[in-house]
Structures are given as structure tokens and as C-alpha cells.
Amino acid sequence: MDSTAEKITTMQGYKLHVIETDKYKTNTFVWKMKAPLTKEDVTKRALLPQVLQSSSANYPTTTALRSYLDELYGATLFIDLAKKGEYHIISFTLEIANEKFLSDPTPLLKKGFELLSEVLTKPNVSGNAFDQETVNKEKRTLKQRIQSVYDDKMRYSNVRLLQEMCKGEPYALQVNGEAEDVDTITPENLYEYFKNAFSEDELDLYVIGDVKEEEVKSLAENLLKFENRTPKKVVTTEIPKKDQVNEIKEEQDVKQGKLNVGYRTNIVYGDSDYFALQLFNGIFGGFSHSKLFINVREKASLAYYVSSRLESHKGLMMVMSGIDLKNYDQAVGIIRDQLEAMQKGDFTDQELIQTKAVIRNQILETIDTSRGLTEILYHNVVAAKDIKLEQWINDMEKTTKEEIVAVANKIELDTIYFLTGTEAVK
């Protein structure tokens, strides 16, 4: 597994992670900025990377910046927002061709790095404010992005589940922030926030490709320098236990009902039983051999999609399915039965072996892509742990049935959310 040989260096204000591998025809940079998720900052953090990637000091219009990216053999630059536990993470990804596969020998790694540095550190500002026009149009785009969640019912119902389930917790916030807060952002206060973020966020740069660590390090030293900082940690508060399962039904004009069920796993990345939780999820609902797929889809013919997934840093598990409106009770019943079966140890050695094989395969496949590899390695930054991938795989292989049953008994059903049609018959 030499492709995961991650070389980490502490630079000025950030950590540099270099992964040398010759399996790609491109080189990838991923710049990550992490801060606690708060109502106050979340919308600014959603807008900031959009403004930064739309123009810069030397490329003051989107046309100029995008033309230059095209010129660099269609280098791609995109941003992404994520919640990992109660952290809000901004990612900038720049991927650029490796010139050894081109007939043109222009050194693209250096040019790509320079452009990333330009976008991050030399914004299009006048005085103490971002360019007004840029901020205005990106505010409009952000509002549209927030609003568009409503139109994708699968995403919408997942967002609604989390809002209901995590009411009062930062995790109920959406990655894109809140529509009403977009209006309060000005070119001045966003610029102020930009300076804060670059001096307080935990910053990490991943560089993956056929590169030399020394070369990357010396480029990084020249191109990216920030103040040293001690990143803020999320203070986790005890979540008050609900007395009973929270059941929410919402009516809209939809043909298919969306059933989303939320559980507290009481286990997070880095806990000793985290790998048992991964296996639990695999047997229960993660795959097409899992109990949910077999019982809800294959046996009862109720759904096309039904699966469960984990939120590793917050300690949640979410089941999602699309069902006919009239089948709500039956589907909820079958899903509840599957968790009970897991809690009673009602699964075979065959299911366990199968799930271990599939998860091992999934991890190895994920690290075949530079993005997947970055996401796996970044878990350690979020959780402030140092778990090597080999250990991840080994610990999972050693996990026993008893440990999985113990995990199943820690899992608590919290909220059932159902987006139902206006013609629902009861």
C-alpha cells in the first residue's frame, strides 16, 4: 500500500501532506480549511471560497481566471464544502495535467501551484473590501444553491431529518449556510472574515501525483506562508436524550415518499469500537448484500433504493429509502426489525466475512483516486488521530461478532422523517 505513504511537514501556518505516486496522468492539490461549525460563520464560510475562485488580483475577472486555467491544459479548480462532525470544512481542489504526457513541455506543476496560491492569497480587493460586483453575483449564486436543495427531494429529506434530529446542535446547520444570512454579508465584512479564516482555521495542503517531495516543499515554502496558530477545537456538549422516538411527517406534492431514519451510534472515528461500527453498518445497510437491501427491496419489493450510511465524526447513522406513500408502516417495521436482528446477533459468519471483504475492497478502491485518498487521510486531521490505513484494515479484519453485537446495542433510534405526498392514504 505504498501509494498511501503520506509525508507530512509542518509549514508556516499549515501542514503539507505529499503523496508521491506515478499512477495518475495529472497532479492534484487539495487545500483544506477547517473551523468549528457555527451559525454566525457558516454562511460566510460558504460564500468565501466562491468569491475567491471567481477572480483574483492578477486575474480580476472570471473570464481572465478561467481562460488561464484553460491555457494550463484545462486545469480544473473547484470548491467544496463539508461537515465533518461539528467542523465546517472548505476544500479547494486544483488538478492539472502532468506535462510528461503532453507534447508541450511547459512545467505545469509550478504554474498550478502558483495559481492556487494566487487564488488563496491574492484576492480581488480594493481597500479593505472584496470586489463589490463579485460579491454580489456570488451571493446570488449562493442563495440559489441554498434554495435548490428544496428541488432535490432526496437531499431535501436528508437535510430535514438532520434539522429535526439535531435541533439545537450545530450539526443541524447546512453546509451552504442560511438564505437569510446571505443578505447580511458585505464586501467589507467578508474580507474581514477572510483574514480571520486564514489566521485561525486549521489549514492543510495535500499534493498527490508524480512529484518530488523536496520540490513541492520548496514551492510551498515560497508560495504559501501564514501565521502560526493553534486551531480551535469543537467543545462537545452532552446531547440530552429524547424520551421517545421523534416522528415527523411532512406533506408535499411528490409521487414517491422519502423515508429517512436517523440513529445515534454513540461511536466516533478513533474510538476502539469504530471498526466494529463500520462492519455493523455494512451488514445492516451499507451494501447490496445488506439486510436492508435484501428485506426492504428484494423480499418485500417496497423500494428501489434503501441503504444506511455513517457520519463518522458526529456519531450518526442515517437510513434512506424511497417508497410508495402507502407503505410507510411496513417499511418502518422492516427497518426496525433489521436493527433488532443485529442487536440479537441474528447474522451469520458468512455475512460477516462477506462484509469484511467488501469493506476492505471499498477502502482499497477509494485510495485509487486522489480525491478518495485525500478524504481518507483527512479523517486523521479532523479527529486529531494518527490511524494508518493498514491499521484500519487490520483492526477491521480482527473484529468479532460479539463486538458487532455490542455496537448494535449502543445504537439508538432517534428520529423518523417522512416526506409524504398530498394524496397519502391512511
Binding site: 495529472t26 494550463l72 495535467a97 411528490v254 424511497g322 466475512i353 482499497l364 483516486t369
Partner: protein
């Protein structure tokens, strides 16, 4: 087995056409953990009118049957093939498009076993009345899911505007009504006609030894008794050059409107290098017109008519083709008008500079390098190209040869009022 070298890309491709007609391709990828294999038949949703194997007369089969067959092939008398794959640590899947049905797995161990499972399950159908009925509930939910998806409705709405007779206008999954007519006998009829090895292609990409894997496939096929297959007879009704309707508006439960404009393709009888050149030229033209570095894009973005969902795409297969441009918008009528004007300005002589063309070509070349990082892309696209007698690895040399004249000819020929159409999704009142 022949070996084909692609020096600039530093890749080697191995190929053999087996005696039963099956084309097998192997692309070794060093450094990767994963092996990805696709087993694809040249049979998709548009192939709904054909002469079944051993018969004389054309039959018309229910809409959605190719996709239904794809689902049902996973089920066997002794259970489900997904189970078999996951026991062997693989993840399996399948998809049906207008012109292809592909079965695939990816795995990082037991690759030989998984390959055997893939080839054997696709070549050993088991359909029963009971399992066919059960599947109708599952696919019914898949259809309902797409019915609620505004982007899907917009996309198909536009195709239905553009095409009057061609079956590309039929939703790949069919409707709940159309799939109710599917029976096990109909499934066997489609299977026997389209799943002969001579109509299929197997592609393997990953850290594999090509000799060993070619031997394995050869031996596997030698054990199976395929008779020589007559050429498949498909029938498509005549399709006029003009669109069926210029505009359609769908009201749905959405907050943001959507607008997509489309242009029906010309020269849809093309195959091989001609098709490759044509589709790449069209893609470069769309990039010049609507790419993020274009003036048009920035004008639309600055006016608040488009957002990050804006995209454009060109599809061309034997018998049909279309360009599409659009996305979410606050003003679907203004966006439709502006996009149309931009297209017609290009037709009437908007000039691009050599520098812009050069940059657009560079962008496409870089995008190709990025794409060939992905084993999935290589296997799926190579197969699509091969079914159209093209070679995926000719993309870069073909791009390099595109001239300003090609771009001009393309825009003056293809862009036309009678082949233009608009589809919009707006919030239900």
C-alpha cells in the same frame, strides 16, 4: 492477441476477437489496487423493434424492457449474483443507456473469480414469472423516483420535443404501465437476440497480466456452445430533420425554474473517424460558446440568469443526436432567448480567435488526461467508442486537427431554427 501501444499516454492495450465473435480488451494499469471490468451488449432502450432470433417478422417490445432485463439478469435460481460478488469482495453494478447495457464489477482481490462470475452470470439467464412480477414493484419505485426528479424530467422533456418518432424519446426505464406487459418469454426473446457474444464487448482494466486474463476468457468461452449468429435486424421509423415541438413547459413542485435548450444533430448516420471528428468539433464549439472562460457565460452569469448548475453537452449515436445547454435560472424565458441568440450569432459569423480555439483544444486535451485516470471512464467510453467503430485513444490526435474552418462549418450547418427546441420546468402554481 494483438498489442496496441499509445506512446504519448504511456499505455498498452491488448485485444483479441474470440472465435465466437466476442471482442476482449485488456488495459493493464500499474499502481492501481482496483480492477474494473465491464461486459457490455450493444443493446439499449432504443432497440425496441427488431426481428427476434430464429423468427422472420419484426416485433415491437414494451418500453423499458432492456432496462428490466438488466435488473433481472442478476437473479438466479439459487439467489442473487450481488451476494456472490460480495462474498468475493467485489462490488457489482449495471446500467442501461439508449444504446448499451453494461454489467460490471470492481475488486481488489479474487479478480479471476469475479471475472468468471461476471461473464457466467451474464451468459446464463434465469427468468421466471414470479421473479418478473416481483421486479415490477422495485422498478416501479425507480420510475416514480425519476418522476419526482425535475432535472430528469427536463432532460427527457427536451428529447421528446426534439424527436418525433425515434425511440430515443422513450424513457429508458419505461412507464409503470409499459413494464406491466413484460413477461419472462419476452425477456428471453430479447436476451437471445442481443446477448450473443458477437454483439458484446468485454473490457478489463487494472493491475492485471493480460496473457493470463486473455487465456481465462478464451477458456471460459470455449466451454460454451454458441452457434453462429445472423446479423441482428433492427428497425427505426423515419425521423424528420425537424423537431417535433419548439417548446414545452412542465409545472413541478420546485422553487427554482430550469431551462434547457436543445439542437437536433445532423449526420446521425456517421460512424468511425467521421463521427469522432464531428462530436469533438461540436464539443469544442460548445466550449467556445458557453465555457466558463467565454464571454457568453460571463454575460449570463453577471446578469444572474445562470448559476453553477449551468452545463452543456453533446450526444451522438447511430440514428440520433443532440446538443443541450442550460440549467437553473430565475428567468427561464429570458435565458432561452439569450441562449438562442448566442447560438444564432455563432451561425451568422461570430468569430473566434485562433488563440481561443487553441485554448479550447488544450482544455479538452487536459480533460482527456484527467479522464484516463479513471478505469471506469476508460472501460465505459472505450466500449461506447468501439460500438461506433471509433477508438478512444484517437481523441487527442483528432482534437489537435480541428481547425477554425471546421468550427465555422459546424455552426453554420447545425444551428437552425427548425432543429431548435426549449424545455422548461417552472414552479407549480
Amino acid at each position: 492477441m494483438e498489442k496496441i501501444n499509445f506512446d504519448q499516454l504511456q499505455e498498452e492495450l491488448y485485444h483479441e476477437k474470440l472465435s465466437n465473435g466476442l471482442n476482449v480488451y485488456i488495459l493493464p494499469k500499474k499502481g492501481f489496487n482496483k480492477t474494473y471490468a465491464t461486459f457490455t451488449t450493444k443493446y439499449g432502450s432504443v432497440d425496441n423493434n427488431f426481428v427476434p432470433l430464429g423468427k422472420e417478422e419484426y416485433v415491437k417490445v414494451p418500453d423499458g424492457i432492456a432496462h428490466f432485463l438488466e435488473h433481472k439478469l442478476f437473479e438466479k435460481e439459487d439467489g442473487d449474483v450481488f451476494q456472490q460478488f460480495s462474498k468475493q469482495g467485489a462490488s457489482a453494478n449495471a446500467f442501461t443507456s439508449f444504446t448499451r447495457t453494461a454489467y460490471l464489477f470492481s475488486s481488489t482481490s479474487d479478480v479471476e473469480k469475479n471475472l468468471e462470475t461476471l461473464v457466467d452470470f451474464v451468459q446464463d439467464p434465469y427468468f421466471s414469472e414470479k421473479t418478473v412480477e416481483k421486479e415490477k414493484g422495485i422498478i416501479g419505485q425507480e420510475i416514480t423516483m425519476y418522476d419526482d426528479n425535475p432535472d430528469w424530467r427536463l432532460y427527457f422533456g427536451l428529447i421528446q420535443n426534439l424527436y418525433q418518432n425515434h425511440p430515443v424519446k422513450i424513457d429508458i426505464a419505461g412507464t409503470i404501465e409499459s413494464i406491466s406487459h413484460i413477461t419472462k418469454d419476452l425477456l428471453y426473446e430479447c436476451y437471445n437476440t442481443f446477448y450473443h457474444p458477437s454483439n458484446m464487448l468485454l473490457f478489463i482494466v487494472g493491475p492485471v497480466d493480460p496473457n493470463k486474463f486473455m487465456d481465462q476468457v478464451r477458456e471460459n468461452q470455449a466451454k460454451k456452445n454458441y452457434k453462429e449468429m445472423p446479423e441482428i435486424k433492427r428497425k427505426f421509423e423515419d425521423e424528420p430533420l425537424q423537431t417535433g415541438q419548439p417548446k414545452q413547459v412542465l409545472e413541478m413542485n420546485v422553487q427554482t425554474s430550469k431551462c434547457l435548450i436543445g439542437m437536433k444533430a445532423l449526420h446521425v448516420d456517421q460512424t468511425g473517424p467521421e463521427l469522432l471528428k464531428n462530436e469533438l468539433t461540436m464539443n469544442v464549439l460548445l466550449d467556445l460558446l458557453f465555457g466558463k472562460s467565454s464571454e457568453n457565460y460571463n454575460q449570463l452569469y453577471n446578469e444572474g440568469l445562470i448559476d453553477e448548475t449551468f452545463s452543456y453537452d453533446y450526444t451522438q449515436e447511430q440514428g440520433f443526436g443532440f446538443a443541450m445547454v442550460g440549467g437553473d435560472t430565475e428567468n427561464p424565458d429570458k435565458l432561452a432567448d439569450d441562449l438562442k441568440n448566442m447560438l444564432f450569432q455563432a451561425k451568422n459569423g461570430t468569430t473566434f480567435t485562433e488563440e481561443q480555439l487553441d485554448r479550447a483544444k488544450k482544455k479538452k486535451i487536459g480533460a482527456f488526461l484527467r479522464a484516463v485516470n479513471s478505469p471506469e471512464y476508460i472501460a465505459n467510453q472505450f466500449t461506447r467508442y468501439a460500438f461506433n467503430d471509433m477508438n478512444l485513444f484517437d481523441v487527442v490526435p483528432t482534437l489537435e486537427k480541428i481547425t477554425m474552418n471546421d468550427i465555422k462549418t459546424m455552426s453554420s450547418e447545425v444551428i437552425s431554427e427548425e432543429r431548435f427546441s426549449v424545455c422548461q420546468v417552472i414552479p407549480k402554481k
